[in-house]
């Protein structure tokens, strides 16, 4: 290794002074660490990054970063972020949230964000439960998962986010595991670098309502095959995988969507006048 000048930003430069209030043991701590490590590797100044979220435990991440942040409305993080990115294409836009926020309340936005392919990175911390509201089943909960709130389980087929993302046109699809924060940091860095809509699903255990998810550390494994850019091949793999393959699983090179800039609309006062009542 040769002597080089020290990088300008370390992971801690992307963390705010606010202490997270997640339950100790929660996988989201590791995902926060992965996000800040990824940003440190990319050396993107914190003021050039916007972290947008909806509602839920994992959606608290914007407050814990030192970047611009927007803690938005439940399920609406993606449209917020799309609006931000198309008006400020110079920003690196990262969207964070959970499986309830992203796949249920925000499910329709998820489909169209994949389809629209705006250049941003969507990180979903999937713990297969609504943790913030005390443990209701989410779209990714197994049909036979029982608790005091769901006697007998939901008996509903779980949502398959990676398959849906692929079918809807996502440009980059990866799965990480919070128990491997360094590997997840690499996935996030790759997702941010990749043009277009990048989707990173991170299995992030809820140790309070799903303590059995601690076992995920024994179940996750690197995907046995290289990432593919063949949508048909990826569809077969994603539809049949065991849900624990990690790594980049699909990438495409569709040009990101960017609406033509209307010079007139850059005049904020004129824009205001158009909406005057």
């Amino acid at each position: 290794m040769t002597a080089e000048s020290a990088p300008a930003f370390a992971a801690k430069d992307f963390k705010s002074d606010i202490k997270p209030v997640w339950c100790p043991g929660c996988g989201d701590y590791s995902v926060l660490s992965s996000v800040t490590k990824a940003l440190a590797e990319l050396q993107t100044p914190p003021e050039d990054v916007a972290v947008v979220s909806g509602i839920g435990c994992s959606s608290r991440i914007p407050a814990y970063t030192n970047c611009y942040g927007f803690h938005g409305v439940h399920g609406r993080a993606l449209p917020l972020a799309i609006g931000l990115k198309v008006s400020r294409p110079d920003l690196t836009v990262i969207v964070t949230g959970g499986d309830g926020d992203g796949y249920s309340i925000g499910g329709n936005h998820f489909l169209h964000a994949c389809r629209r392919n705006v250049d941003m990175t969507y990180i979903v911390m999937d713990n297969q439960v609504y943790g913030m509201t005390k443990g209701q089943p989410s779209p990714t909960t197994e049909p036979d998962w029982e608790s005091g709130l769901v006697p007998g389980g939901t008996r509903i087929r779980p949502f398959m986010p990676l398959v849906v993302a692929l079918a809807s046109g996502a440009n980059f699809i990866a799965r990480g595991f919070s128990g491997d924060p360094n590997g997840t940091a690499q996935l996030i860095a790759e997702a941010i670098r990749h043009p277009g809509f990048s989707f990173v699903e991170v299995l992030s255990p809820c140790v309070t309502f799903r303590p059995e998810q601690r076992n995920w550390k024994h179940e996750t494994h690197p995907a046995p095959v290289e990432a593919t850019n063949d949508r048909g091949r990826a569809a077969r793999r994603l539809a049949t995988d065991d849900g624990f393959n990690t790594g980049v699983l699909f990438y495409d090179n569709r040009a990101p969507y960017m609406p033509p800039v209307d010079a007139n609309l850059t005049d904020v006062q004129q824009f205001d006048r158009e909406f005057a009542v």
Binding site: M1, T2, A3, E4, A6, P7, A10, A11, K12, K19, P20, V21, W22, C23, P24, G25, C26, G27, Y29, S30, S33, K37, E41, K134, G135, S147, G148, L149, S178, G179, D180, P181, N182, G183, A185, Q186, L187, A189, P205, V207, T208, F209, R214, K217, H221, P222, A223, T246, G247, V248
Partner: protein, 185 residues
């Protein structure tokens, strides 16, 4: 994915011999190990403070300060030799994270101070095992010298934490019961 941690089933001695092959590699790994351990102890101390568990927070805070001293010393050694930070996924740990780093899922809001010390001891032993595994691979002399120096330091840390733990001969492995459990039964 990254070459990062060696795959399950890899021979750990061979994996470390391949990934930590020069004195710069040893220094880079040692620095990352100590600084990541300090960061995680800081995070754990914050978690315990937020969850009104001050005794356990104090243990983690103390460990964070100790690890930070080591990290600063190693940062100076790295700077002297021009060893720079690497992407986190390029370190060749035998587990997903550095051996001295407490896995996030080990924490619990009701864990006791002795249980935190037990975790710290486990971490120090894993750090020692890392250098012993490296030494078991018959490394070059310059790598051996550094690995022996760091292994000796980790042995001291193990002894230190064991000394602290002598005050708690019977550590209850169970997390105390929460009379106001969040989970609906």
């Amino acid at each position: 994915m990254s070459p990062g941690p060696s795959s399950k089933g890899d021979d750990p001695i061979k994996a470390l011999a391949a990934g930590v092959a020069s004195p710069d590699d040893v220094l880079a790994h040692a620095h990352a190990m100590e600084s990541e351990a300090a960061d995680r102890y800081h995070e754990l101390a914050d978690q315990m403070e937020i969850h009104n568990n001050p005794q356990t927070a104090e243990v983690f805070d103390k460990m964070a300060r100790i690890e930070q001293i080591h990290a600063d010393k190693l940062a100076a050694m790295c700077a002297e030799r021009g060893v720079t930070r690497r992407p986190p996924w390029e370190y060749r740990w035998l587990d997903p994270e550095a051996p001295e780093v407490t896995p996030v899922e080990e924490a619990h809001y009701l864990m006791t101070a002795p249980q935190a010390l037990k975790l710290a001891l486990h971490n120090e032993k894993r750090a020692l095992a890392f250098y012993e595994t490296l030494l078991a691979g018959s490394p070059p002399d310059d790598v051996r010298a550094l690995a022996e120096e760091f292994a000796a330091e980790e042995r001291e840390h193990v002894s230190l934490v064991e000394k602290w733990m002598a005050d708690y001969p019977d550590i209850d492995p169970h997390i105390p019961e929460d009379p106001d459990d969040a989970v609906a039964h």
